[in-house]
């Protein structure tokens, strides 16, 4: 599946060192990582905490420069952040001084007039089911609503790639599964290339075309597994399917190995 796709993102021999703030020594966060993400592919990155999966996402976003290696999008090296890559953070990152509608309008530039931008933003408000909340400020929204605004905001300027950094990690279980459903629905109608960082094996199986398991620090690719489940997916049906259960077990085994290897529980 992945191989047949046109590569959208290519990472080659990626390496990232961090300066340890305490000792001043440099610590490898990512080591010799190769990864290709196909156009319109939904890729989940999982791995133990501190394995560099978020760092990898920030490098893709152009927010953090790699120490060495290549980051190519459509064959061109990434030098800085750009509107071709939308991003959603776990902590929502909505601008608290702007209303829901203004937050979503923030990145829309294609339209010539403010009215045009507004109409486009309103379409996205409807898309994430927030009609009626356009003029609310973020402080008056629940976590799930905030994340829906963040999603709409990241998609409203029509990026080709969506980067998601554990976006549903702070939500309660019900809200989380509703948000997953919503994300899948949006993605199935408007296929972006998605790189989605999560620590939930279940979430990865439910959402992804392909799951990449990262090793403990320094992070590199431990396993690269194609999810053999058809779409559209229904969470309740899916999680009963034998393939899904086998995949979950396999992924959990891989992640656990790394968690133990990293010595978090030693």
């Amino acid at each position: 599946m992945a191989a047949s796709r046109v590569p959208k993102i290519v990472l080659r021999a990626l390496h990232k060192d961090y300066d340890d703030g305490v000792t001043g020594r440099s610590v490898a966060a990512i080591h010799d990582l190769d990864l290709t993400v196909g156009a319109q592919e939904f890729l989940c990155l999982i791995g133990p905490s501190g394995c560099g999966k978020s760092t990898l996402l920030y490098i893709l976003g152009g927010f953090v420069p790699p120490t060495s290696g290549e980051v190519l999008i459509d064959g061109r090296p990434v030098a800085s952040p750009g509107p071709d890559r939308g991003i959603v953070f776990q902590e929502y990152a909505l601008f608290p001084w702007l209303t829901v509608l203004e937050n979503i309008m923030y990145g829309i530039r294609g339209e010539k007039t403010r009215g045009g931008r507004r109409i486009r933003a309103e379409q996205f408000v409807a898309k994430v089911h927030l009609t009626g909340f356009e003029h609310h400020y973020p402080r008056n929204l629940s976590g799930g609503m905030k994340q829906r605004v963040a999603l709409a905001r990241a998609l409203a300027h029509d990026p080709e790639i969506l980067l998601a950094d554990e976006p549903f990690g702070a939500l309660d279980t019900q809200t989380r599964s509703l948000m997953q459903e919503e994300l899948l629905r949006i993605w199935e109608s408007d296929r972006k290339t998605i790189v989605f960082v999560t620590h939930s094996v279940e979430e990865a199986v439910y959402l992804a075309d392909r799951v990449v398991v990262m090793t403990a620090r320094p992070g590199t690719v431990k396993a690269d597994i194609t999810v053999p489940l058809s779409r559209p997916r229904n969470f309740d049906v899916l999680m009963q399917a034998p393939e899904a259960m086998a995949l979950r077990a396999e992924l959990w085994r891989l992640v656990k190995e790394e968690v133990l290897r990293a010595g978090y529980f030693a």
Partner: protein, 260 residues
């Protein structure tokens, strides 16, 4: 409709404030009317009030107040523009921070009133000197607050804006300024108070009109009632500033989790 606990508390605080004010003025009137305190030390409140009214009607008070406020407004506006923009740029550009940072650290602890003689030496005793002293007294609190606000802007705001197509310059205004606004406002509040202090100080020393001059000049000539009337006016202005500030603050920070 039942008043909420907060409203009840606010009303209570307001009544308490008025009561303490009445008590203060009442005791002032009693100790002077009974001549426990002689009139040339402390004139009666009622006499001061009459003098204040006469000064107001004659236009003298308005003239001196206007002269004070225009100097203050000019100096303060300049400090606001410079302090906010410099604070934001310093927070986002290491080089500017390295250049300007040490300077602000050295100058910040100097009591700004100590700069008055120096400014008079360089710029004379006219309006320019007074505006400059207000500027110097106010720019640092505004700059330092803005700097701290801008430096602590969550990086996810910056990254979000960058990923929506903002370049570094655009997001200074669209993101950093707005995110730093609560701190900027607290810098403004401090700046307002300091500006009134240094303004009155420089007017006392340099003369040439203004409320500070009125206080000092009448003290010298023994017209104590005018002295007190001028001081009361300064107090009222300070109080009005604070109220105006709170109103403004609630308006521009209505989106924040907590209002000051």
């Amino acid at each position: 409709m039942k008043a909420s606990a907060v409203q009840r508390h606010q009303r209570g605080a307001c009544i308490a404030g008025i009561a303490s004010l009445i008590l203060f003025i009442g005791s002032w009137q009693i100790v002077t009317a009974t001549e426990i305190v002689p009139d040339d030390v402390l004139p009666r409140f009622t006499d001061v009030a009459v003098t204040w009214w006469q000064l107001l009607i004659s236009g003298e008070l308005v003239r001196q107040t206007a002269s004070s406020l225009s100097r203050q407004a000019a100096g303060f506006a300049a400090a606001l523009v410079c302090g906010v923009s410099l604070g934001i740029v310093m927070a986002r550009h290491r080089m500017v921070d390295d250049l300007v940072g040490p300077l602000t650290t050295v100058i910040l602890p100097i009591p700004k009133a100590a700069l008055i003689p120096l400014v008079m030496l360089w710029f004379g005793i006219g309006d320019a000197a007074k505006t400059i002293i207000v500027f110097l007294g106010t720019i640092l609190p505004i700059l330092v607050s803005t700097y701290h606000g801008a430096a602590s802007v969550d990086h996810v705001y910056i990254w979000s804006a960058r990923s929506m197509g903002d370049d570094e310059r655009t997001l200074l205004w669209r993101v950093v300024f707005h995110a730093a606004l609560p701190e900027i406002m607290s810098g403004i509040r401090m700046g307002l108070i300091i500006s009134l202090i240094v303004l009155v100080g420089v007017e006392m020393l340099a003369g040439q009109g203004g409320l500070g001059w009125l206080v000092f000049f009448t003290l010298d000539s023994g017209a104590y009632r005018v002295t007190y009337a001028a001081m009361l006016t300064i107090a009222v202005i300070g109080f009005a500033y604070d109220r105006l500030f709170l109103m403004l603050s609630r308006r521009v920070l209505h989106w924040a989790e907590q209002n000051p």
